[in-house]
């Protein structure tokens, strides 16, 4: 039992997320109690506009919770100073990087920023961690290319390598598979699964690829009109969570294959 709790990287306690202005409070979801364990791959799914981004923003301390708290390694994220948080949590965002003139190696090297000196010089340790991240994501042949020469799929691998180089317990990715073709969607998610197993890092991603997430994730977080459930994918299927995810007029969830089917 004790061992179980030490393995928890991220934990939320009665978290309520949403937006508060002076007069009104818009609650997106409440009573969120999730635990992410070491070395797990976790998929966050839900319909468009259900609040996945709001949840991720709250988990990454971009946005304050309405109530409740988020703990990383048993410390509330509000108590972290920005630099210490950068050493336990790295992000892969949907936004494009500002400068595509960076080389792949330079971009990944920026992941070492929280550890480098005032002018950003790389130590031998930094370089070896960067090279390891390059090997783990299979981009050795890309490392001297410029970012504007890369395809979307290649760039996504580079961004994942950058997050790995940041050397954090937890990596959070916001829709890492959008804009990718079917093969690369599967490739990226499979890569994330392998990385979580090989490196022991906890990896949380949001995605619309529910089929793939069911096949690859250790745990899934499903957001559904104000409620958030998290469990192993097979248990969620048994509970019938996915059926209620979307309006029933167009697509049906098939429990046997774990995928959605268009109504004929």
């Amino acid at each position: 039992m004790k061992k179980e709790t030490t393995n928890i990287i991220l934990k939320t306690e009665d978290l309520s997320i949403g937006y508060a202005s002076k007069k009104t409070e818009t609650v997106v979801a409440s009573n969120i109690n999730i635990e992410l364990k070491k070395g797990e791959l976790i998929g966050l799914v839900g319909a468009n506009g259900i609040g996945k981004s709001t949840l991720l923003r709250t988990l990454t301390n971009v946005q304050k919770p309405l109530s409740g708290a988020v703990f990383i390694n048993k410390k509330s994220i509000q108590d972290y100073n920005p630099l210490d948080l950068a050493k336990v949590l790295s992000l892969v965002l949907t936004e494009k990087i500002a400068s595509k003139n960076l080389s792949v190696f330079e971009l990944i090297a920026l992941g070492r920023q929280p550890y480098t000196n005032w002018v950003g010089n790389l130590s031998e340790l930094d370089t070896s961690i960067i090279n390891k991240a390059i090997l783990q994501t299979n981009i050795k042949d890309l490392q001297h290319k410029k970012c504007f020469e890369l395809s979307d799929g290649q760039l996504q691998k580079v961004m994942i390598a950058r997050a790995l180089a940041q050397d954090t317990d937890l990596i959070i990715l916001d829709e890492p598979t959008s804009h990718l073709d079917m093969y690369h969607k599967a490739y990226i998610l499979k890569l994330l699964q392998k990385l979580s197993k090989d490196t022991g890092k906890t990896i949380l991603f949001s995605s619309h690829e529910i089929d793939l997430a069911i096949q690859l994730c250790d745990t899934m977080i499903v957001m559904n009109a104000g409620t958030v459930v998290s469990n192993q994918p097979c248990k969620l299927i048994q509970q019938g969570v996915f059926e209620s995810l979307f309006p029933k007029d167009l697509i049906n969830f098939d429990k046997d294959t774990g995928s959605f089917r268009v109504k004929k």
């Binding site: 990454t60 971009v62 100073n81 920005p82 630099l83 210490d84 948080l85 950068a86 050493k87 949590l89 790295s90 992000l91 965002l93 936004e95 494009k96 990087i97 500002a98 400068s99 595509k100 003139n101 960076l102 330079e106 971009l107 920026l110 992941g111 920023q113 929280p114 480098t116 005032w118 002018v119 950003g120 504007f148 940041q166």
Partner: protein
Amino acid sequence: MSKTYKYSFLALTLILVLCFFMNISLGSVSIPFKAVFNSLLNNGVAQESWQHIILNYRLPKAITAIIVGSGLGISGLLMQTLFRNPLAGPFVLGISSGASLGVALVILGSGVFGGVFASFFVTKWSIVIAASLGSFLVLLSVLIVSTRVRDTMAILIIGLMFASITAAIVSVLSYFGSAQQLQQYVFWGFGSLGNLSWSDLVIFLIIYLIGLLASVFSIKALNTLLLGENYAKSLGLNIKRSRLIIIIATSLLAGTITAFTGPIAFIGLAIPHLTRQIFNSSNHKILLPAVFLLGGIVMLICDSISQLPNSDYTLPINAITALIGAPVVIWLLVRKRGMVF
């Protein structure tokens, strides 16, 4: 990787030194090379007036050229990275327009406010103070706005609006100004590197060095900002503080340079792009010293051209930098990769 950069830096440093001596040895009075060196080393020169020209006119002017070229180049580099916009520069932020407004108020406004005011205030130092004050006020407004508006794109547009407002006020003032005042304002607008005495230069240099130091301390933040603000934040960067330091560095550099030498166009925009093309890098650890060297070189060459060697004419430096700078920007845009940063 670092070895090839080492050779490039060595070459640029050599070119800078060469340009420096070329700039000193050229001018309206023809002075032999040997005499130039002798006057610098204080070894006895054939004509005393030569040494006077070299030491009290050409030497401070050459040093000013290096300060202006490197300072404007670096402030352009900082702005382009901070605003993630290849068109950003000291002019776009409104810093130079602020300086212009200050000067216009002093020179042209004296006509509106009366004669005593005019004779008392239109001196060189009043222009310098007015320009510094003007750029500082515009900067302050941009800073206040930037704490409320989080979007850097909006700040850029606000800077452009400030520039339009100041241009309009200058137009109104020039409508009421006398022909003589108008001429004086236009001459300031031409830009000049040669108006600084040694005592001016010391003050100029001190403010410049503070701006330079702030830029050097921003290198890591600038590199982080290449990823975009959200990534930079996720890497633990204190965005607000970094942004403040970068804006202060820019305004110190661009504001004082405009104050002392008049508005000098295109250096701030073109030099960072030229440097990126030559060094093919976005790393500010390399770009910052490279922009320093290249800015100094280009400014020394522009100044040598504007002197029209061995003639009595001096062309406005602002026109020369635009004549060289604008084609460079067009050339960069026409090239396939365009203005990447």
